[in-house]
């Protein structure tokens, strides 16, 4: 007797649909699994047998052959346990082929018949095709983000069999945990720092990369983590992308419903392979891919190794990271807003003239770590100073995250309507067409160019930022002089330390 049951398996960065064919015949009792199963997959036999017996079903004393098609593809992991068990039951006659036809079965079996969580649930569900998917309860919440698929939950094998036979319904899915708040820190909790708040708003509205430079305890990290709260909710398509990447990387999901953009804050000692991706046997996505459609916060930029910072250049340029490994080439998306914090000098006081006590050598060494192609990618560079006593204890409460986020959302909508993406993605040719400058603004830019304070590439970057500033300011057709002045002012702030010394 033959049965075929649908499932899916992850190999490398991809998930593939798998057809589990089970053939039962007379002969010496045996159970063989073919189709390049890996060690965990081969052990399915013992797990399935124990699960069947624990569920009160009979283990057939026949010759059983299980084929995991496509046979040439390596099958990894224990996620095919449930499909093998159901296939066996269908081949033996406990279930009919029609009963199992419209489903895909994904799950690991425990010896007592319970269903266990599988890794990378989201890609598996995506690969299982347009049919109902039976999943263990622990994986249902993760995979719930995938649209257009009905997810069936069952706590153990006998529940699955009962539901398939029609004796009982499917179990209720466990509820998703509470939707995470809009970022852990509210912007209103940050005291003072008017320039930095404005820069955050601009960075969120246009997707521009931001550098915050300031002495210790000036609130840089706090401000950086506020940015993710200002970004709008993810679209369904973006949610699925983010969920897929998180699933592949096997990261404990923080916002289980993946509606909010992710915030990744890698530690400076993170190795390059964990930052970019490609580690592990399955070429897992790295931090930058996990930050896709979200924010990558690099705290203490100078503590990162030079190789890590160099390696970030290409993904920043292309919006994707290409990983070439022995067996395969993988390309993970990596388009994020980068926020970095740094001190102006090793002692931290370089921002105030006359207070820095570093030697010239240590200072130039420190600045060299910051220089180079990565430093140019920051369109907004803000110098922070320590909040004064009146800021900390009195002072008007600044705008809250939700107020600013509303403005950001409006500006983003305008930008998307104009060019199909955020302003940071505008190409040089698109700038003159879609973001014209008023006469006064172009004169201001020209003055700066002549004075040597702006290069041609710098001009384009400032232009994009100016367009975002204009969008936040009611989106006039032309960029005004004030917008350009603001964009230029927010570009050059963090040379404070170098300038204060170079007098």
């Amino acid at each position: 007797m033959l049965s075929s049951v649908r499932s899916a398996s992850v190999s490398g960065p991809q998930a593939h649909p798998v057809l589990v064919e089970t053939h039962v015949s007379n002969g010496l009792p045996g159970f063989t699994v073919v189709g390049l199963p890996d060690a965990a997959c081969r052990e399915s036999r013992d797990r399935v047998r124990a699960a069947l017996m624990s569920s009160g079903l009979r283990w057939p004393l026949k010759r059983v052959t299980v084929n995991l098609a496509p046979s040439g593809l390596r099958k990894v992991g224990a996620g095919l346990d449930l499909a093998i068990a159901v296939g066996l039951l269908a081949a033996v006659g406990e279930l009919t082929q029609e009963q199992v036809e419209g489903y895909a079965f994904i799950g690991e079996l425990g010896l007592d018949g319970s269903l266990r969580r599988v890794r990378a649930a989201v890609p598996l569900v995506l690969a299982a095709g347009k049919r109902d998917v039976v999943l263990p309860p622990a994986s249902i919440v993760e995979a719930a983000v995938v649209p257009g698929v009905a997810l069936r939950c069952a706590p153990n094998l006998s529940a699955v069999v009962g539901a398939l036979r029609g004796e009982n319904g499917w179990a209720a899915s466990p509820p998703a945990s509470a939707q995470g708040t809009r970022g852990a820190v509210d912007l209103a909790d940050v005291k003072g720092q008017p320039l930095a708040r404005r820069a955050l708003e601009i960075a969120a509205a246009g997707g521009h990369h931001l550098l915050l430079a300031g002495p210790p305890s000036s609130g840089k990290t706090m401000l950086g983590s506020c940015l993710v709260g200002l970004l709008p909710d993810l679209t369904p398509g973006q949610s699925v992308e983010v969920a897929k990447l998180h699933s592949l990387a096997d990261v404990e999901p923080v916002h289980l419903s993946f509606r909010r953009p992710p915030l990744r804050m890698p530690h400076p000692s993170t190795p390059v392979v964990a930052l970019l991706g490609g580690g592990g046997p399955r070429a897992r996505p790295g931090e930058i891919s996990l930050a896709h459609n979200g924010v990558l916060l690099l705290d203490e930029l100078t503590e990162f190794s030079r190789s890590a910072l160099d390696a970030l250049r290409m993904p920043l340029e292309e919006g994707a990271v290409r990983i070439a490994r022995a067996g395969e080439r993988v390309c993970y998306p990596a388009r994020f807003v980068m926020v970095a914090t740094t001190s102006p000098c090793p002692c931290g006081e370089g921002g105030t003239p006359g207070s820095c006590r570093c030697t010239t050598a240590s200072r130039s060494r420190y600045e060299n770590r910051l220089s180079g192609p990565l430093a140019e990618r920051f369109d907004l560079r803000v110098a922070l100073s320590r909040p004064g006593a009146e800021d900390l204890f009195g002072g008007a409460r600044g705008e809250s995250t939700s107020a600013v986020a509303a403005r950001v959302a409006r500006a983003r909508d305008v930008a998307v309507a104009r060019s199909g993406g955020t302003n940071s993605l505008l190409g040089a040719d698109q700038l003159s067409r879609l973001a014209p400058m008023s006469l006064a603004a172009s004169r201001l830019a020209e003055r700066r160019l002549r004075a040597g304070a702006l290069s041609a590439r710098g001009l384009h970057r400032a232009w994009r930022v100016a367009r975002t500033v204009a969008d936040l300011d009611g989106a006039p057709a032309e960029i005004d002089e004030l917008h350009m002045a603001e964009a230029l002012a927010l570009r050059s702030q963090s040379k404070v330390s170098r300038g204060a010394r170079a007098w």
Partner: protein, 428 residues
């Protein structure tokens, strides 16, 4: 300050011997003084060459026997006449204490070595008064401004400005002294006169070597090691008639120079600074301890005449050269009165007027300006831009402050001599 070249063969011999003695390993100013001043240099050299020990060595600590051995081997390798020829070839001068080209202020000093090397010509041997302008490496724009002003005014008044060279106050003082085409400045080097230290200020070093002089007690090619800096500081104090401390952190090297000067009975002046600024903590402490405050170049000139060293050329541009005269002798800071409408009569817009008012108290970043004036970022940035163009406000890498209306100074051009690399760091 080239030595009495070739005319006095005995003098040449003495000089050659002194130079050779100075080049012995582990030579210190105190030891060199004993060899050169207490004995004659030629005698000392011959004593060492013959392997005998000068009596003061045998009297001193153990461990000096190693020194003697070191010296006797070194003596055999060095040829004094050859060394003198090398110095002459490289254009470095040397002056012995007994020669007329020895700096006037060092004549009575018992802690210097008795032999001073130099590069370039300097009037230190003559009757011109000399003033040391010293301060911290990490200075505020105010301090740099004042140092530059003092350097310029004093040099214009015919006073030789002496200092070590480091980023910050001393670099600005040297810049100021160079910018007036009168008395040349002098840099005291921590190493040999041919070793520029710090490297980042090499252009300034070369300009001073061209217009003024570099002096040192360390022979040519001596490394500017850390343990030579205290000797350099003492030499700065010894060379000066008056010492002015512009800005100093608590415990800065400038305070050590002030100390050395006080020990020699030279007057020390200190420029007062904001009590909130850590860069003025040391200089304010000096005033609290009894030094006279320096409120402008005139105070320095008064201190010089009280010390009996009036400048030979009374300041021709005395009234206007010291821009403090506008405010009755105060160090220029309040440019608003002169500035608004004063820069060639340009009309100043209301935004710009507000920003000027905000900058009156102290330099500020853009964030502080927007905080003080309630203008939006764009308007404040535009206003600052226009004010910089008009010359009323100066930009020091993110900190804006009022530009002092010094007549010879176009704001920003005196940066030209400083490290072009640091200033030329443009935003890409």
């Amino acid at each position: 300050m080239t030595s009495a070249a070739g005319r006095d063969r005995a003098g040449d011999k003495e000089l050659a011997a002194s130079i050779a003695l100075a080049e012995l390993p582990r030579m210190t100013p105190a030891k060199l003084r004993r060899l050169v001043v207490d004995n004659g240099p030629v005698d000392s050299w011959e004593t060492l060459a013959s392997g005998c020990a000068p009596e003061w060595i045998s009297r001193s600590r153990t461990g000096e026997t190693d020194l003697l051995r070191l010296w006797s081997t070194a003596v055999r390798r060095i040829d004094p006449c050859d060394r003198l020829a090398v110095y002459r070839r490289r254009g470095a001068g040397a002056a012995l204490w007994s020669q007329p080209s020895y700096p006037r202020t060092l004549r009575q000093d018992t802690s210097t070595s008795g032999l001073v090397f130099s590069l370039g010509t300097t009037p230190l041997a003559g009757a011109e008064p000399s003033v040391a302008v010293v301060g911290t490496r990490s200075a505020t724009p105010y301090g740099r401004d004042v140092a530059h002003e003092l350097g310029r005014a004093l040099s214009a008044a015919g006073v030789v400005v002496v200092s070590g060279l480091a980023e910050g106050i001393t670099a600005c003082a040297q810049q100021g002294a160079l910018s007036s085409a009168a008395a040349p400045p002098v840099i005291v080097a921590p190493g040999g006169v041919d070793v520029a230290c710090p490297l980042s200020l090499s252009p300034l070093w070369d300009r001073v070597a061209g217009r003024g002089a570099i002096v040192s007690e360390v022979p040519l090619s001596g490394r500017p090691d850390r343990w030579r800096f205290p000797w350099r500081n003492r030499l700065v104090a010894a060379l000066a008639d008056v010492v002015v401390v512009v800005e100093s952190h608590a415990g800065g090297a400038a305070l050590a120079i002030a100390d050395a000067a006080a020990r020699r009975g030279r007057p020390v002046l200190a420029v007062p600074g904001s009590i909130r600024s850590s860069a003025s903590r040391g200089s304010n402490a000096l005033i609290a301890d009894g030094c006279a405050p320096c409120l402008g170049p005139e105070d320095v000139l008064v201190a010089l005449s009280l010390a009996g060293q009036s400048p030979l050329a009374p300041a021709a541009t005395g009234a206007s050269g010291c821009s403090g005269a506008q405010d009755g002798g105060r160090v220029p800071s309040g440019a608003t009165n002169a500035g608004v409408g004063g820069a060639g009569g340009h009309p100043v817009a209301p935004d710009e007027r507000t920003v000027l008012g905000a900058l009156e108290d102290s330099p500020a970043t853009l964030a502080a300006v927007t905080g003080r004036t309630e203008l939006s970022i764009g308007r404040a940035a535009l206003a600052l831009d226009r004010l910089v163009e008009l010359g009323l406000v100066r930009d020091g890498g993110g900190w804006w402050c009022l530009a002092s209306p010094a007549p010879n100074d176009v704001p920003g051009t005196y940066l030209a001599g400083l490290d072009a690399r640091a200033v030329g760091a443009r935003t890409p």
